[in-house]
């Protein structure tokens, strides 16, 4: 691709959100010049966190960017895009960046592909994106027309995350403050019940369903998740019954996840649930019912007593990890 491919980078504690590293890796492979654009935060910290993953870093500093409201991010990015004219702009398919990219597309009149799982370049030098539709039951290939840059957010887990190893040059940018108004006021920020690992970016997810028989049964899921170092997910039935918060729900009306490993404990495997996790690389289904539909859509299946299998599996995982 001729020209610059920007990746809008979201920070996470003192690091970089994994999906943004994955997007940076893909951007570098598309042949253009990959540039990490980091809105908000301390520019020195941002530069130190991002430079190992990109040859060039634009650290955009302004206090109104720190809260991460999509409107202020989009205003600043649109201003930079108009001046520097990148060929494409990528981001992670997070709630925040989906809001930012919807605004960028509307503001610039540029095409946008959300939540893509494949990205390459056409002979004409435009992006070509593949994205799931209808709950992952089909994949659409999208081509861009009209004005550039081509915009896309990438699904977490769709591309490999490159290891740190670069030492990018850092440029600091101070946006024109006139363009910024903060109309969403951040009154508080709290961590989630979901546990120490974020569902959207987890390598491994252990999810529980109705087969656990009650909220106490979820301790099996939590213990197995702890053994794997995994995030905890839940089926709709468990969330609707109040066993878990809806931020844990995987499926059509919950989160869509793409971990390397998805372990389903006591989940029957209804189509609504599978829509949220069918792009997981390896799927393990464990269920009391040997006829559970999930077994038709898993790589490995065990039909047996969950209350014996989950602790046995947790013990084996701990042994394999040398704990």
């Amino acid at each position: 691709m001729n020209g610059e491919i920007w990746v809008v980078v979201e920070r996470k504690e003192d690091g970089v959100r994994r999906v943004c590293r994955e997007a940076l890796g893909r951007a570098a492979a598309l042949g253009g010049e990959a540039v990490a654009v980091v809105p908000g935060g301390d520019p020195d910290e941002a530069a130190a966190a991002v430079a190992p993953y990109a040859k060039r870093v634009l650290a955009v500093a302004h206090p109104l960017l720190d809260d991460g409201d999509a409107e202020t991010w989009a205003a600043v990015l649109a201003e930079l895009i108009a001046v520097r004219r990148p060929a494409a702009v990528l981001g992670g398919a997070t709630a925040r960046c989906r809001g930012v990219f919807a605004r960028l597309s509307a503001r610039l009149g540029c095409g946008y592909a959300a939540d893509v799982t494949g990205l390459d370049v056409t002979p004409g030098g435009r992006l070509r994106a593949v994205r799931p539709v209808l709950g992952g039951r089909a994949y659409a290939t999208l081509e861009f027309r009209g004005p550039t840059p081509d915009l896309a957010t990438v699904r977490p887990g769709a591309f490999p995350a490159p290891a740190a190893g670069l030492a990018g040059t850092v440029e600091r940018v101070t946006p024109a403050t006139g363009a910024l108004t903060a109309r969403v006021r951040f009154a508080g920020r709290l961590p989630l019940e979901a546990g120490p690992v974020d569902l959207a970016e987890a390598d491994v997810i252990v999810a529980g369903g109705r087969g656990l028989r009650g909220p106490e049964g979820f301790r099996l899921v939590e213990d197995l998740a702890a053994a794997f170092g995994a995030a905890v997910g839940a089926s709709r039935a468990c969330v609707d019954a109040g066993w878990r918060d809806h931020s844990c729900q995987v499926g059509k009306s919950g989160r869509t996840v793409s971990p390397k490993l998805y372990v389903a404990l006591g989940i029957s495997g209804a189509v609504h649930h599978r829509m949220g996790m069918d792009s997981a690389r390896t799927v393990v289904a464990i269920n009391n019912d040997p006829n559970a539909p999930f077994f038709k859509h898993a790589d490995y299946g065990i039909a047996g007593d969950l209350f014996e299998l989950a602790p046995a599996l947790a013990a084996e995982v701990r042994k394999a990890k040398g704990e």
Partner: protein, 262 residues
């Protein structure tokens, strides 16, 4: 408070989906079963709850012909006061950005205090229209709200959003766009009598000319070049034995065959 709710009729999640050999732009075949997008129903329910406590009107708005009006009838059966459909041949050849332009032009005309919509539609799941409509209107937007009420501190609304691994509490002045995540409200099951009444409800129609939009504004910026079936998973390997045996076998396979451990 007057609220516009953006609604969309989408294929039933349980409709059969097939992708024809060859995979061109016409290869996607979806069984003819339709529902109103689930998150839009949550937005609609929340709008009706807000009307109950704050007064005002709830106006359902959709863009498109054919089945699109069914989402409006559903909204009226829920209890919406008005139903507005933008229908124009140009909508058949546009993309999500064109739809957002149409919806924002219609919202500007309806001049509500608040726009509510689902966080994403059940078919393309892009989560695009809410943010794009906010941008085109020049309004603030709160994505993926799980709580929404009148702010006590200041004029406007207070929302809670659960996303990206955190829970955020946000205050926003009106007019604003808020998109609904699961948890914001539980959609009702409309009574049969209301469903019957909604069949005869008046649907207000608008076209591009009425909105002052030139058809060129709907020229697509992305186009579907083709569809593919999802990659098939190989047949399942069922693991037998006692619990400790099965656990040991599974961990061995995860480590050595699937290579997802360690």
């Amino acid at each position: 408070m007057n609220i516009v709710v953006l609604v969309k009729q989408v294929p039933d999640p349980e409709a059969r989906v097939t992708v024809k050999e060859g995979g061109g732009p016409d290869a996607l075949q979806v069984e003819d079963r339709w529902v109103t997008s689930y998150f839009d129903e949550i937005a609609l329910e929340k709008a009706l709850l807000l009307r109950g406590s704050l007064g005002g009107a709830v106006i359902a708005l959709t863009a498109g012909g054919g089945k699109a009006a069914d989402a409006l009838r559903r909204a009226v059966a829920f209890g919406a006061d008005r139903a507005v459909q933008v229908d124009d041949p140009a909508l058949g050849h546009t993309d999500a950005l064109g739809v957002a332009r149409v919806l924002s032009a219609a919202v500007r005309r309806l001049a509500p205090d608040l726009v509510l919509a689902g966080r994403a539609a059940g078919d393309d799941e892009a989560g695009f229209v809410g943010g794009a409509v906010a941008e085109l209107l020049g309004w603030p937007h709160i994505e993926e709200a799980v709580e929404l009420d009148v702010a006590e501190c200041c004029p406007g609304l207070r929302a809670t959003r659960v996303a990206d691994g955190a829970k955020e509490i946000l205050d926003v002045a009106l007019p604003a766009v808020v998109t609904a995540q699961k948890g914001l409200a539980v959609p009702r099951v409309p009574q049969v009598t209301n469903v019957m009444k909604a069949m005869r409800a008046k649907i207000e129609k608008l076209d591009l000319a009425a909105l002052g939009l030139a058809p060129e504004r709907l020229a697509p910026t992305v186009a579907v070049a083709g569809y593919q079936a999802p990659p098939a998973r190989p047949p399942v390997k069922m693991i037998a034995g006692t619990a400790p045996e099965a656990a040991r076998t599974l961990v061995g396979l995860l480590r050595d065959e699937a290579k997802v451990l360690g």
